[in-house]
Subunit: 326 residues, 4 copies
Amino acid sequence: MTRSVNHSTVAMTTLALVAVWPPLTAGAQTTTTRQESCVPSRFGPADQTGNLHYVTPAKTLAATRLVTRGKAYRLGIETNKRTPAYPPRTFAITVVQPGQPLGAPIGPTRTTYNDDIITGWVGIGSQIDGLGHLGIDNVYFNCNKAADFVTVEGLKKLGIETVPPIATRAILLDMVGYFGSDPVKEGTPFNRAEIEGAMKRQRIPSIEKGDVVLFHTGWAKLIGKDDKRYGAGEPGVGVSGASYLASRGVAMVGADTWGLEVIPAEKDSGVFEGHQILLARNGIYILENMDTAEMVKDGAWQSLFTLGPPRVTGAVQAIINPIAIK
Amino acid sequence: MTRSVNHSTVAMTTLALVAVWPPLTAGAQTTTTRQESCVPSRFGPADQTGNLHYVTPAKTLAATRLVTRGKAYRLGIETNKRTPAYPPRTFAITVVQPGQPLGAPIGPTRTTYNDDIITGWVGIGSQIDGLGHLGIDNVYFNCNKAADFVTVEGLKKLGIETVPPIATRAILLDMVGYFGSDPVKEGTPFNRAEIEGAMKRQRIPSIEKGDVVLFHTGWAKLIGKDDKRYGAGEPGVGVSGASYLASRGVAMVGADTWGLEVIPAEKDSGVFEGHQILLARNGIYILENMDTAEMVKDGAWQSLFTLGPPRVTGAVQAIINPIAIK
Amino acid sequence: MTRSVNHSTVAMTTLALVAVWPPLTAGAQTTTTRQESCVPSRFGPADQTGNLHYVTPAKTLAATRLVTRGKAYRLGIETNKRTPAYPPRTFAITVVQPGQPLGAPIGPTRTTYNDDIITGWVGIGSQIDGLGHLGIDNVYFNCNKAADFVTVEGLKKLGIETVPPIATRAILLDMVGYFGSDPVKEGTPFNRAEIEGAMKRQRIPSIEKGDVVLFHTGWAKLIGKDDKRYGAGEPGVGVSGASYLASRGVAMVGADTWGLEVIPAEKDSGVFEGHQILLARNGIYILENMDTAEMVKDGAWQSLFTLGPPRVTGAVQAIINPIAIK
Amino acid sequence: MTRSVNHSTVAMTTLALVAVWPPLTAGAQTTTTRQESCVPSRFGPADQTGNLHYVTPAKTLAATRLVTRGKAYRLGIETNKRTPAYPPRTFAITVVQPGQPLGAPIGPTRTTYNDDIITGWVGIGSQIDGLGHLGIDNVYFNCNKAADFVTVEGLKKLGIETVPPIATRAILLDMVGYFGSDPVKEGTPFNRAEIEGAMKRQRIPSIEKGDVVLFHTGWAKLIGKDDKRYGAGEPGVGVSGASYLASRGVAMVGADTWGLEVIPAEKDSGVFEGHQILLARNGIYILENMDTAEMVKDGAWQSLFTLGPPRVTGAVQAIINPIAIK
């Protein structure tokens, strides 16, 4: 298959950059579609949950048995106006004291309080991509067409409020250890060889249905130190790596990077094609900006992973802070 | 102790209503303070964590051993513009498709995607109150004065990003079963007798340090059915009940109500005095609008409770969705 | 010409309602287009200003000569969270005191200050529709295609910041007096006969190039009294009336209603077809929710009309408060 | 009068910087107040309008007679996310297409439309400061105490919606010409000598009651070219200059700078003491970031000035675009 240089360039373009230079990408698609956009869920036409179906009580119960020390880890990084994010994403909170002019306390016990307002894009800091986040030609997970479920006020299907409670096994792959580079360099793809290589190195026997796979790359350390490099690229999952993970039946894939996938992208790959494979074709959720550093330090390769995304109705994504327990 | 009728009225006023009628409450405080506003943390002058210090690895490990079935519960209700909330609290999300005019796909694999923006008050739906939410005379947990840490752009201390990873035991008290009323009526206080009575009925031997105590009242069922009644009052923790729970060293207290405390408040109590006792005087976090119905149905009286609030820097509260596992 | 009942129904649907029931309208368009979507501006291919070109210094100078009493009128109504607006439009302001904890003043002269934040849809209250607001089949004024100038972050052409300074003649047509009904009933169309009839009654000899034509219907009185009726319909400009006004070369058309056009719409008309005729086909701006009551009371049929919309870059509309002087 | 060095430092601090370094300013006020904070309006205890009372029909009528050419000027600069503004002020608009998935047109005439949402601080770009913006020790114009009229949801008095229609004489003072420096250097105060000097140079006989006085300094040219210098200081009205203008009974004072007043401030002056003199003590509105360049080029020293600020209920300020006509 021959592909023009232009296409390779497009493939290397991040979604985020698209917002900055839409003309570059607007007319860049091929006239023929490389993949079917409608991929029915293996869990039936009404399914909105995808591979989280594999997180059964038995799976959860088994995961709780992985806990041997009782140490809990928070995987969320901080989200604020300085967290690197591509235009036009912005974030702010405003703290107010309703009904307390000049700090006037209320009632006999002199009550005072603060309240807060968020004005911000959800895709900043640690986040989960719901199944309605990214699709193929305006068709999303389980053949849901944008025209049928996407509105300005929220998604009518696949919203983040539909995510079931999550408590399952997490497998943490230490790509820094595997590659001997901290951080792993941008543009380094993780495909089957690298995934299995890291597993072997860490003596992890297998990836199984319903698992959460987390990649540690050291990339998050750049935040606040070299935001420019942080945002311009990243090491991450390659196209065939995404397919390999999907073939294992994982429920979620995450990393300590902003976009999970390798950037610049592999030759001949689509724009965030890994997202398409995971979210749209396989119902596998994506976790970004996961703070995996302390778990790596402790060698917490297998743990109980729990997550309840804030249930904002119709939201595409959520700012999250999963708890892993070893 | 004699207190004027006016003070009782004020005591019955919810914080939320204060925002609507500030003149009523503005001048209502007594000239003398009933309680010391500065209560040092038992964990030292630098402490921002409060009773979550009691959630040790041993505590977490023991809690994981409570899991016998592997069933996970999500305790979050949905947050959206219809979720009942007092003025001026509002909530909206906006879903957009940056760089994709008229749905134009990007690149060779025809990528399309949705992004979302939140514009809303955090105190809507399921929420955690951080230790900087409510205080006594502008002094908050561990003697932190508002003038020293509260800014329009966020809290400089006690922000929600400081909350450590939470994995501990949850004790669920079925007040519907105890009172034989579903929902429990508004204005019904839960104090020591009711708490111990419910424990006895459910054969829960004790409340211990680091526990999360959740009250099921059936109140959340009113949402969307009788929002007016839902917001005008609620059953909940009384003043001495709050002190009793604090004496047990709990880490968090929650309920399936919007404000945890009994409303109308008990005679002679302050405005949200229970919040003052829990948050400001004892470093105990508060969880509101917890969806406890399914856990009650299953008799999940003791469970592993996990929570990672989204780490928005300087935020007072967080919209949450804790995961309990039985 | 025969048109199906379904089309008439669609024609009666307001744009605002579209947001509520998009499925109804999504598939309702005919397969053939009734009108060309690309209508070049008579002022050349680079034009973004439309008929405001007719507001020449001579026109402005002549308009200032209409002032005989020196009485100024503000045509803006108030915009706030209670102003009736269709979903999902919402509006809020938040007032804060940065850097002044508990009201602490700053510096030797004890300075204190308030600041404010707007979080709201622009299409609430008194507003101007820019030429990028509404088009035909995603083609807007002067053949500008949405894909070429509309982005999530703002319009790259036709934004409200491009509006030149406006000082011209306003002609106020008293439709309440003409119809002898206050307010004029919803569904009452204003076409050539009604427009010329009102002019004759008020002894206004002619409508000329560059004029602003304002209709007084009494409809705005319903705000806060019968918001439901206010939003469900309105008297207003009909399809042929819009074309008639365009034939006169007017620069702007406004009314004391939320949408200018007659609702329910005339038989066989499109959805906001009058907007299409004025904005997209003729470069004529639209003014909504104009407070014309006092001018009518004073018989200020001809006046100097001035307007500078806040120059928010790339904005589609603006909240306005024009000043008319008699 | 002796004043400490520290006070001078404080005096040089801009309000904007206060938001960045509140600790510096928080405890810096003297224990004695230099001025009375309550200054009753000369227009009575109910007055919310201040010196705009001087804009009578006779004044307006006379101002219209100043128009000799019919040339209209827009005094607003653009407001967007790149407009320089101090933290925490931010600004964004979001453009959406409700009910039009993938650009689907509506109805038989294939209607499409854009809508927009503002999320931003009002104090960015061209703005009017209302009389509730800045005060003395939490007392604002006409002895209005913050505790009585300032709420998180908006001002209950002195809100921008109370501003009457404005059509009066503008006097433009060309300080660039007067000082022979373009721009006039930061820290250059305009007091009586400079004001009268500029008037004499431009042959403007007098400043009178109800006038709008605008200063042209060339400062606005720095926007987008040297935002750092632009924000770090400015030439402008001095303390005695503010008092002098007040003594003339002007209705408004504006400039092509972000804060009107000279920064660094004069020795011994308060923080934005000129704002206190104009807004709080004299009921004179302030206009910032006025685009006066073209008027200076044309020598439009006296003109008809019209302004209707968007009537957002309870707003402190407004983004504006006044129209001047010569």
